[in-house]
Symmetry: C2
Subunit: 475 residues, 2 copies
């Protein structure tokens, strides 16, 4: 096993070089949502391939299809970058997933500095992608480079799957992974994803669960065209009135889901889980203050965390077809589409949830006795993901964290979905782990995204130790 | 009195010339909502001034102020055109209001022909402004021109108030009218506005009432920034849930307003009114079919017409701050603003309505026990307008219609508001009448706006006879 002190020193000495690497990555504005930047994604992938090849990796760009943009133009999808480092049959193989595209960003959105320059300030590195997900991808490269320069033998084979469309729905990725189930992915023993965040600002963690998502539309059609409320108000049954009533019946004032049959599908909470939740380092007042929310649904830490990860939640997102602008418009919308979704948890299955939701709304609708046309339908469903956090793979992650931070990680879940996690688990049938390196206040997807220099450097150390620990791992 | 047969023949002979006049007007794209066309409004006003001067009118362009557009650019507002024709102290003075600006229009919106060319097809004149409101303004000019060419003495003085911003909220008009209350408007005995439509396609009418409008916002603030439902769903009280519930309590499934104290403010319906409504030529099946509505709130003609004109109605227009686009977005909005309005009728006063609405919602909110921040406030209020349709002024309008069409007009109201109507009534303290010449299917504000050639020509005749009838009118 490599001496950690020596490893840590080597990494610290290279801080400037590692920051330059991230600077280079951030300066390529690889925004996947904007057609103008499509070429920058290709550039970002080429540049990353070059970095990986410098480590001796064998790279392959897997062609993806075409994408039709909302305005009708057709763009080439960026390829998925497959890289292989090491091909020793006696070693196990780790698959690392990351993404090279970023969310849109502009100074005019309220950034304090140019989002596509890496700005160092107060121990933080500001820039779009600094934490999501270019920082973690560069940290993997830093870790491997350091081990190589220390002439340490990495005890595993490493594969990378790096995509350029994550922030736009990972278009094409699942198809490519499915096609490579029996080739590139066939020998994968572990998958590790560093594309999430610590629960707080100081305590590292490992994540073993993600909620799934069931998204629904309720359509109410009144007539052919939008009507002027002055001319027609009082003569038609208005769709907004029906829709508001239906949506008011989804949850109680306290957030309890009123849809029959939903809560019954949730796996019972075990005592062991409660103990695990109790141990988690989480300050509920900080959480509320960060949100600037007036009050949370509970003051109890375990209840709030379980509400985020362990129980389903229902959110009403908005209405398509109604007036949504500023000011006053006196329209009676011809057709409105209410949108809401449920975050689902084990043992909920999207199909069973769909049935409860549509049955419930159909029943409400028949009570309403409105002459309007009504439709309710799911638009997408993804299952929750749950990994065995007692798997030796997690122990390797935990050991790496203990080595670097001197503390056990918290075992947490994420409330949102990272669909590729489930894809890797299902295709490899092996353990998948989420190993975040950024802090909870990194502002991914928001203005002034950053990664702390300490998180970037300690993250590089954790990843390096983790790679070494995997050698002792009998999954 | 002029011989109607002779007048009618004279007008018919000039059909080509009158259509050319309207063609010229339509070809000036005086769109008030679009900065690019601001200069066209000035051109349209200059051209109309020239037409009026050819009739011998004394014209004055009353300077209006500046307008800040949503993008921050500042535009000059077009002047209001005042014209005076005749100054005989022994005659009464009629004030005619009309507008020279139009709604936006483009081929790409779905027009079958260029909206800024007057296209004659199947007895219809298609073009933006053909019926709203260039057609009626040109019909006034046609009428006066014909009487002059027939060497008939017009028994009244005529004043015109023609504006260029009606389709953009009549910016500045009220101020200008108020300033001229004791000068230009001081001797006005009657005001006539031809800027609305028949109730159907064949029966002419006079309108004596307009509903007022009270518009409200309900604001619910949850936290500082929009939240991701995966990460935060289940921990905060969601604003959309509060808002949908509040808005579901505004009206019943059958459209009854649930806000306490509103229905009590409505003036009792008299037997005479019911008789007037019963006589109105209105086919409820045609109305429903034109809307392509699945069902109306009633199958009874009088009930439907009273719901449009004689009773208040409440419409929920939409929500600002929530997700309103196509597709699926998993946002928990930080702050949502629900928008709804009431159309109000005599004897409702905006202030009293505001109090009922805010009291009712405040009471609901205290029942809700939500920790979110709540606010309800009115954004605008306009009073209903009601004229005395037994006034001799209306008899002059009715006689003109009987002379041209051989039938009594229907006496109707409009459900929407034309705020300038109330301004004229309040400033002159004299009778105001709405005398439409276009048909209900003229598609003002929509694609393929038209006026039927018969409506344009018969309208010109009605206006000419009305001008003559006013001579016998002791208001
Ligand atoms: Zn990411
Ligand atoms: Zn992201
Ligand atoms: Zn108009
Ligand atoms: Zn109009």
């Amino acid at each position: 096993m490599v001496d950690f002190k020596k490893l840590s020193d080597c990494i610290d000495k290279k801080q400037k070089e590692f920051i330059e690497r991230l600077r280079h990555a951030v300066e390529i504005p690889s925004v996947s949502a904007e057609a103008d930047h499509r070429n920058d994604i290709f550039r970002m992938i080429d540049w990353t391939q070059h970095e990986l090849e410098s480590l001796g990796a064998k790279c392959e760009q897997i062609k993806n299809g075409k994408q039709e943009m909302p305005d009708g133009t057709v763009l080439d999808l960026p390829p998925v970058l497959f890289a292989t480092l090491g091909n020793d049959k006696s070693k196990k193989t780790l698959c690392i997933y990351g993404h090279l595209d970023v969310q849109p960003a502009a100074l005019s959105d309220g950034w304090d500095t140019d989002p596509f320059k890496l700005i160092e300030k107060d121990g933080k590195l500001f820039g779009r992608g600094s934490t999501d997900d270019k920082g973690p991808v560069m940290a993997w490269i830093n870790a491997i480079q350091t081990l190589q320069e220390m002439k340490v033998e990495i005890p595993i084979n490493i594969k990378f799957v790096l995509e350029g469309m994550e922030e736009s729905g990972s278009v094409g990725l699942d198809d490519i992974l499915i096609k490579h189930k029996d080739t590139f992915l066939s020998d994968v023993e572990f998958t590790c994803i560093s594309d999430s965040y610590w629960l707080g600002k100081s305590k590292p963690c490992l994540a073993y669960g993600l909620r799934g998502l069931c998204y629904y539309c309720i359509e109410i059609a009144v007539c052919q065209q939008d009507l002027h409320s002055g001319v027609f108000g009082g003569t038609v049954h208005e769709g907004m009135s029906d829709l508001c009533w239906l949506m008011s019946q989804l949850i109680d004032a306290d957030g309890t889901i009123k849809i029959e049959g939903i809560n019954e599908q949730v796996a019972p909470v075990t005592d062991e889980e409660i103990e695990l939740y109790k141990k988690i380092d989480f300050n509920i007042d900080d959480y509320r203050n960060d949100l600037k929310a007036h009050k949370l649904v509970s003051d109890d830490k375990v209840k709030i965390l379980m509400n985020r990860w362990r129980f389903p939640s229902l959110s009403i997102h908005g209405i398509e077809g109604a007036f949504a602008g500023p000011g006053a418009k006196t329209v009676i919308p011809a057709k409105v589409i209410g949108k809401f979704s449920l975050r689902i948890v084990p043992n909920m299955e999207p199909k069973a949830v769909d049935k409860c939701v549509t049955d419930y709304l159909n029943k409400l609708w028949s009570q309403r006795k409105s002459p309007n046309q009504f439709k309710v339908y799911p638009t997408k469903g993804s299952r929750p993901w749950l990994a065995d956090y007692k798997n030796p793979h997690y122990q390797a992650g935990a050991k790496a964290i203990e080595t670097v931070f001197g503390t056990e990680p918290d075992y947490i879940c994420e409330g949102g979905s990272i669909p590729v996690t489930l894809t890797f688990q299902e295709l490899t049938q092996k353990n998948v782990m989420l190993l975040p390196i950024g802090a909870c206040d990194d502002m991914a997807h928001s203005q002034n995204e950053k990664i702390n220099i300490t998180n970037y450097m300690d993250g590089t150390k954790v990843l390096a130790v983790y790679l070494m620990e995997l050698g002792n791992c009998s999954s």
